[in-house]
Point group: C2
Chain length 344, copies 2
């Protein structure tokens, strides 16, 4: 299985990550050695997907202390850099959760600079190892949903490239394949940045799962013809009531699934749930530059001066979601299986 | 108002048409002098939109007889070329209607070659003049639907570029603007060939109607936020019961409109109705090359070997359409206002 990112070396090491903006043309690793470069990589989507940017943020904390030996300096560097990492993108909650987890680690300790940094790296590596395990458990929890001969639609990329492990939605497909089921995946191309066409198609092709790419707007046509049996997507943040923010266009797919009585599932680890929010209305939706819409064609298809809107996410209401595929199985609100007891 | 195409000169003249594949980068006219070039222009979408290709087909008949003087040769040329023109694209019915109208003209006559060719050209010019009038009447019929402060969504391009006149859906907007109403249009970019981003945005910008381009998959997000009051699209073929084939993605928009209780209208002249078909299930849906999906990014975003599906149209069931805006007003099935008495 491909690995979106990993730590290389000891506490003075660096992060090696696939530059996802270059896929599928070239498979190139970026070597990230400082938090500013990590933030830039997160912002331009060289690394993306809620769990993957959670892992990237944890490693970013380690990079922030690179070369330091004094505990006071280590803490000062974290005080300075962690808020910037935390704010690099607004919608995915894993970013916040993992930055907060790194901060809690140092708040509670009384170690030397180097000891602290070893602890930070240990914690970041644990975060990735745990995510790897969560992905496998999500796959196992959802595999039975994919029937032999099934035709499953997914949107954007919720695969190995989006996580520290083998994915969320795509992990369900990988597990179904391992269980011997034959099925086809329809991948929405996922405008504007084509994560479905570029990343999901690439991942599934590597895994030898049959995949067909369609333009996002063709999904309705396939639903109308009865060619979609199941929808599974990832999520960037799930609120307490189950409302789920995910890549723009997910809500449109959920509407189609509802109108055509096709089950729609969200696959996400507990780390993507935000129990501090009552509903999806509280999830901040990132608006990205209209240039992303414009640049898809070399010559720029949109006339100069025309306004472009580019919301990066939308919210699918819980009422449209048949189940939330997590490491604890397919669960329902109020998600007692994964809800921290202390919260709310 | 821009003109998608026009005849230049006498019976030995030619067709001048905007090359819509080049918009909005450059505004270039193609000079079409023979039916093969006209068929190629129709196939590659240099001219597109059901009414416009109906007009193009009529002119194509004139081009097929260019330079001929003998009536037998004129008829032979038409026998040879008209079926090819008729089959150049399968979904838009105007193409069939106008080819059949040109054929009926010569079948009934006993004229010399040059007289025949003058009659053909006269008929083709009449077809465009009539379409111009139909567009104006559609605009008048629908203008009151657009409210002051309204936010209207349209898909693909159903404007001057799609007709012999000022459009169908966009004619409604032009008429509303002429009536002094201020409103905004949201234009779906309309993958794969971006007719919304390229053509509708260009037309509306020229007409000084505020327009915002979105990725197709973002429409659901805008509906969910209550930012769309009305949908008007064109059609390529409307069946007897009102089912309407239109650019791929129209059905997805109709589903969103239904779920959010937003009225969805089809704007189309009677020439786009096909009373020989009972329902939309009988409308042939063109499947175009997957290369169209692929080529949007210079470097090709889809991995080699991955299957791509590219249906060019979909069918919106009559049950999702609030009204059909025609030259006879906003009408309902069984469309007695426009149904030829002899049919069915």
């Amino acid at each position: 299985m491909i690995e979106a990112l990993r730590w290389v070396g000891d506490r003075d090491g660096h992060v090696s990550m696939i530059d996802q903006t270059r896929l599928p043309d070239v498979l190139i690793d970026l070597e990230i050695t400082n938090p500013d470069d990590m933030i830039a990589a997160i912002r331009r989507l060289s690394v993306r997907g809620a769990p993957a940017i959670g892992v990237a943020a944890a490693y970013g904390a380690c990079l922030a202390t690179r070369g330091l030996t004094d505990a006071v300096e280590v803490r000062a560097a974290l005080d300075r850099e962690l808020p910037k990492i935390r704010d690099s993108r607004p919608t995915a909650v894993n970013l916040h959760h993992m930055v907060d987890r790194m901060r809690r680690l140092i708040d509670a300790s009384d170690l030397t600079g180097c000891e602290l940094r070893d602890r930070l790296l240990q914690e970041a590596c644990s975060i990735q190892a745990e995510d790897r395990e969560l992905c496998l458990m999500i796959g196992r929890a959802g595999a039975a949903l994919v029937k032999d001969g099934g035709r499953v639609l997914t949107h954007c990329n919720a695969g190995a490239l989006a996580t520290g492990g083998q994915g969320t939605a795509l992990s369900v497909f990988y597990a179904a394949k391992d269980a011997g089921r034959r099925f086809e995946v329809v991948a929405d191309e996922t405008r504007p940045l084509l994560q479905g066409a570029r990343l999901t198609a690439w991942e599934l092709q590597k895994a030898e799962i049959p995949v067909t790419v369609i333009c996002d707007n063709a999904a309705g046509h396939l639903f109308a013809r009865g060619e979609i049996d199941l929808v599974v997507t990832g999520a960037d943040r799930v609120a307490s009531n189950g409302d789920a923010a995910n890549k723009i266009g997910t809500y449109t797919v959920a509407c189609l699934a509802q109108l055509h009585n096709v089950p729609f599932y969200i696959a996400a680890p507990s780390t993507t749930f935000d129990f501090s929010l009552a509903t999806g209305a509280e999830i901040p939706i990132e608006e990205r530059s209209g240039d992303e819409v414009w640049r898809v064609s070399g010559s720029g298809p949109i006339p100069d001066g025309v306004k472009v809107r580019n919301p990066a996410f939308d919210v699918t209401p819980a009422s449209m979601v048949k189940g939330w595929i997590t490491e604890k199985g397919i669960i329902q609100p109020p998600f007692a299986e994964i809800r921290p007891e202390a919260t709310r």
